[in-house]
C-alpha cells in the first residue's frame, strides 16, 4: 500500500512564513503614513515584503504598480511553499491557477460589459507560462461571443456556454461568476486526494466559507437590488454548508437589509459574529472577519500540507487586501481612523 507523505517540512515552512505576517502595530504604522511612498518605504524596511520591494525605487513607485507587486507576492509565496517539497505537481495544488484563470475570465467579462479597454495594464503576465490560455489575446477580446471562441479549447467553454446573452450581446456577470465558481468548487473537491480526516476538515472549511460568501452576496442583492428570494437563490453557489435550505430561504426572503440582518443574526454565523464582538450591521466586513478567523483556526490546528497551504494563502490574500485598502486610503487622504475599520484581522 502506498503511504501518503505528510509533508511536515512544508507545514513548518508555512508556519515560519506566517510568523512574519503583519501585526496590528504594522497596520497602525502604515495607516499613519502621509504618502504611498512612505507606506512603501515602511513595507520595504520593516516587513516580509522587503525582498519584493528591494529593487524598487519607492520614491517614484506608482500605486497601481505597488498593488500589482503585492498581488504578485502572493503567487510567488505560493510557488515557494509548494515548490519546497515539490508538491505543486499534485492536482490539488492546481487550485491557485484555476482561481487565477477564473478571476481573469471574470475580469474580462466585466470589462466587456463596461466597454473598457484597460484590462491589459493589470493582467498578471508573469503567469503566462502556467495559464491555459493566452493572456494578451484575452485582453484583446471585445465581446462575449468572441470570448467563447477564444476559450473553445478550454474547459471554460462548456461552463460558460449555458449563459445567455441579452440583445446587446452582454451577459449577467453574477451568473457567469456563479457557474465559474461552481465549476471551481467541483474541480477542487475532485482533487482532494489526501487523508480522510483532512478531507473532512477541508470540506467543512470550504462549505463554511461558501456559506459566508453566499451571505455577503445575498445581502448585497437584498440591500442594493431588492432582489426576490428566487432571484437570490439562483445566483448563489449551490453548495450546502451549515445553513439548511429552509434557513437560507428564510434569510433570502427578507424584504430589506434590516430584516435580512435580523434573520441572519439568529443563524450560527450571526451568533458567532455577536459572540466575537463584530458589528453585525456591517455584515459584509463582519462576514469577511469570520472567514479570516476560520482560516486562521484551520492553519493553526492543521498538521497537513494541503490544509496549511490553502488557509495560509487565503490569509495572505487578506493581508494584501488590507495593505491595498490602506494604500488607497492614503492616496485619497482618508483619516487613519476611517481606514482602520476596513482592516480584516
Amino acid at each position: 500500500m502506498i503511504r501518503r507523505r505528510n509533508y511536515n517540512a512544508t507545514v513548518a515552512k508555512i508556519m515560519a512564513i506566517y510568523g512574519k505576517r503583519l501585526t496590528s502595530q504594522d497596520y497602525m504604522e502604515l495607516m499613519n503614513k502621509q504618502s504611498v511612498s512612505e507606506a512603501a518605504e515602511y513595507l520595504k524596511r520593516n516587513t516580509h515584503y522587503s525582498d519584493l520591494l528591494s529593487s524598487i525605487d519607492i520614491n517614484t513607485i506608482h500605486r497601481g504598480m505597488l498593488e500589482n507587486l503585492l498581488r504578485r507576492s502572493i503567487f510567488d509565496t505560493y510557488m515557494k511553499i509548494t515548490g519546497f517539497e515539490h508538491i505543486s505537481k499534485q492536482e490539488f495544488y492546481n487550485y491557485k491557477i484555476l482561481q487565477i484563470e477564473i478571476d481573469e475570465i471574470l475580469r474580462c467579462i466585466r470589462f466587456i460589459n463596461a466597454g473598457s479597454e484597460k484590462l491589459i495594464s493589470d493582467i498578471p503576465i508573469y503567469l503566462q507560462e502556467l495559464i491555459s490560455f493566452d493572456l494578451i489575446e484575452l485582453a484583446r477580446v471585445t465581446d462575449f461571443k468572441e470570448l467563447l471562441v477564444f476559450l473553445k479549447k478550454t474547459p471554460y467553454d462548456d461552463v460558460l456556454k449555458t449563459v445567455k446573452t441579452d440583445a446587446d450581446g452582454k451577459v449577467d456577470v453574477t451568473e457567469c461568476e456563479t457557474v465559474l465558481r461552481t465549476y471551481y468548487i467541483e474541480r477542487l473537491k475532485r482533487s482532494l486526494n489526501f487523508k480522510k480526516s483532512d478531507v473532512d476538515q477541508f470540506i467543512s472549511f470550504l462549505e463554511t466559507d461558501i456559506d459566508l460568501i453566499n451571505v455577503i452576496n445575498s445581502y448585497r442583492l437584498t440591500a442594493f437590488f431588492d432582489a426576490s428570494a428566487d432571484d437570490i437563490e439562483k445566483d448563489m453557489l449551490p453548495v450546502g454548508g451549515r445553513l439548511s435550505p429552509v434557513k437560507k430561504r428564510e434569510i433570502y426572503s427578507a424584504i430589506n437589509s434590516e430584516e435580512f440582518i435580523k434573520r441572519f443574526s439568529k443563524t450560527i454565523y450571526g451568533r458567532q459574529m455577536i459572540e466575537n464582538g463584530y458589528d453585525i450591521n456591517d455584515l459584509e466586513r463582519s462576514a469577511n472577519k469570520l472567514r479570516y478567523k476560520y482560516a486562521k483556526l484551520m492553519l493553526k490546528r492543521s498538521q497537513s500540507a494541503p490544509l496549511s497551504v490553502y488557509s495560509f494563502i487565503f490569509l495572505l490574500e487578506i493581508e494584501v487586501k488590507n495593505i491595498i485598502s490602506i494604500i488607497e486610503g492614503i492616496r485619497y487622504g482618508v483619516e487613519p481612523s476611517k481606514i482602520a475599520p476596513l482592516i480584516i484581522m
Binding site: 529593487s55 500589482n68 484597460k118 495594464s121 498578471p124 508573469y126
Partner: protein, 645 residues
Amino acid sequence: MSIEKMELVNIAGLTKDLDDVLVTLSECGCFHMESASKIAGKKVGFTTLKEDNPYKPILKQLNDISVQSGRKFRSDDFSDIENESLSKIEQYIINVRQKLDDIKTEAKLADEKLSVHEQAMYQVDHLTGMTVDFQQIFSCENVKVRLGRLPVDSFGKLEYYDDKPFYFAHFSVEKEYYWGMYFVPASHSEEVDEIFDSLYFERTHIPDFVKGNSQQASEELHKMVDEDKKLIEDCRKKYNDYLDKESERLGKIFSKLKSQHDNFDLRNKAAIVNDKFYIVGFIPKNETERFMGLFEGYESVSVVLQPADANGKLEPPIKLKNNKFSQPFSMFVEMYGLPSYNGINPTAFVAVTYTLLFGIMFGDLGQGLVLAIAGALLWKFKKFALGPILTRIGISGAIFGLLYGSVFGYEELLDPVYEALGITFLPFKIMNNVTTILIGAIALGVLIMFISILINIVMGIKNKQLEEALFGNNGIAGLVFFGSILVGAVAELLGVHIMNAVYVIVLIILPLIAMFLREPLACWVKGKKYHMEGGISDFIASNFFEVFEFLLGYATNTLSFIRIGGFVLSHASMMLVVMALSEQVSAAASPIVVILGNVFVMGIEGLLVGIQTLRLEFYEIFSRFYSGDGKPFEPVKINYDENIE
C-alpha cells in the same frame, strides 16, 4: 568583608562660603550628600534654594558641538582660564559654533550638488550604447523621445499594442526594470504617453547640463561627481582641522563649566535660613580625620560629626568592604541590591560559593585555564568587569578538572600522572560516578542552605527580629525541622532507625507548630500582647498556606541543587560527543574538531553554568537571609561623562 562604618556629618556656615564649601565637598571624594530639607524641615525656618543653573544654557551649546562633531570632552586642567568671565566664554562658543555651521553649510551645498549629479549619472549609465547626442534627440520636431524605465511585467504587455505607432528600445535590464526609450510621432504622443503611463513607465528627465552622447555625458558626470566628493572631503577636513585647533581650549572650558554647573546643582540640596546654610551627609568613618582637616581654613563653618544612625530620617548609605578575592563579586551583590546598614555583606560568601559551584560544574583543567587567561586579558585590555570573576572561576574549574582528570575533554590524559604519584583515589571519573555526583550535589546544596539559615538566625538575633530568627522557616524552628527530616531520612536509608515517636514529635512536629504560630510566639518572647487581625479562621487559613509553602520550599530548594550534578554530567557528555566526532573524521580534521568543540562547549557550558550558579545564589541562598534594600554610597563629584540635556 563587612560594611564600611559611616559618620553623619552636619555642616553649617554663612551663605557667602556656601559655594567654596560645595567645591571642597565635591573635590574630597568621600562625602555622600543628602538633601538637608529632609531633616531641617520648614518649621524652623529653613528653605531650599530653587535657582536656575546659570551654566546650563552655555554648557548645552558646548554639548551640541560635542554631539555634532562626535567628539567627547573630558576633564582637563582649567586653572589658566579660572578667572575668565562667563560672557567672554559664551562669546567664544558662539563664534566657534558659527564657524562650524559655515563649514557645514558649505558641505551641505556640495552634498546636494553631488546628489543631483549622481542621480543624473545613474540614469545616463543605464543608457550606455546610445551614441546620439542627447541634445539632438530632444530637439527632434516630429518625433518625441521619452527616456526612462519600464517594469519587466509591463514590457511583456507591449505586444498588446502592436498596432500603435511607437518603438521601445531598451539599453539595459535591471532586476525589475527595462531601461530605455520610446519613440513616438509627435501627432500620437499623447495617446502613447497614456499607454506607457498605464504600464507604469517611469520617465527620466535628463538635466540640461548633460551634453553629448551617453558615453560623453557619463564621463562628464563622473568627473563632476568626483569633484563634488573632493569638495565634501575638503569641508570635512576643514571642520576637523578647526576642531583640532580649538579642542584644547574647548576641553578646558567644558571642564570649568561642568565643574561650576555640578557644584551649583548641589546648592539645591543645602538648607538656608537667613544668611546661614546647613548641609548634611555621610562620610566613611576612616576618612573622618582627613575630612575634618579640609574645613580648618573656614572661620564661619562648623562641622559636627554624629553616629551614622543618629537621625532616623536619614538612612546611612552602603559602601561594601571586600578583600581582593571577593571584590569582583560585589557586582553580583549590587545587581541584587545592597544590604542594609546593619545587615551583612554577603560578597565573601557569594565569592566562595560561586567559585566553588562553578568549578564543580565546569571542571576541566585546560578549559578552566583558558577561561582564567581570557578573564585576565579582558580585564587588562578592556576593563571588562566580569574579567576578574572569569579568572577566579576559571582557576576553580581548572582545579576541579585536575580532580576529574579532564583536560580539554581528554579524560585519560592525567591517569599516568596520578599513577606515578601513587594516588589511587584520583582522578574522580565523572561517568563512573553518576550517583555519587548527584547525591553529592544535593549534600552540597543542603550544606549551603544550612549556612544560609544560620546566617539568617545570627542576623535576626543581632537585629532583634526574633520572629524570623527563632520561629521562621529560615530561623531555628526551620533549621531544626529541615535538619531533623534530613538526618532521619539519611539514617533510615543507612538502616539506623531513629525516627521514633519522640523524635518526630519534638524535632519535626513541634518546629512545625512553632512556624505556624510564629507571630504570637514572637510577641510572647518580646513580652508584647498579640492582636489577631481578621479572626481565628483567617489566622489559621493564612498560616496553614504559608507553612505549606515553607514545606514545598524546602523540597524544591533542595532538589534545585541537583542541577550542579546535572551540569557536571552534561559538561562531560558534551566533551564525550566532541571526542567521538573527532575520531570519526580524518586525522587532519580531528584537531580542528577538538578545538572547535572545546570552544563551543566552553562558550555554551560557561554561559549556562554561570547563569545557573547565579540563579542558585539569588534564589536558593540570598532568599534565606538577604533583603538587598540598602542604598549605595555615592560621594558627590563632578561628572565629566554626563551629557547636559
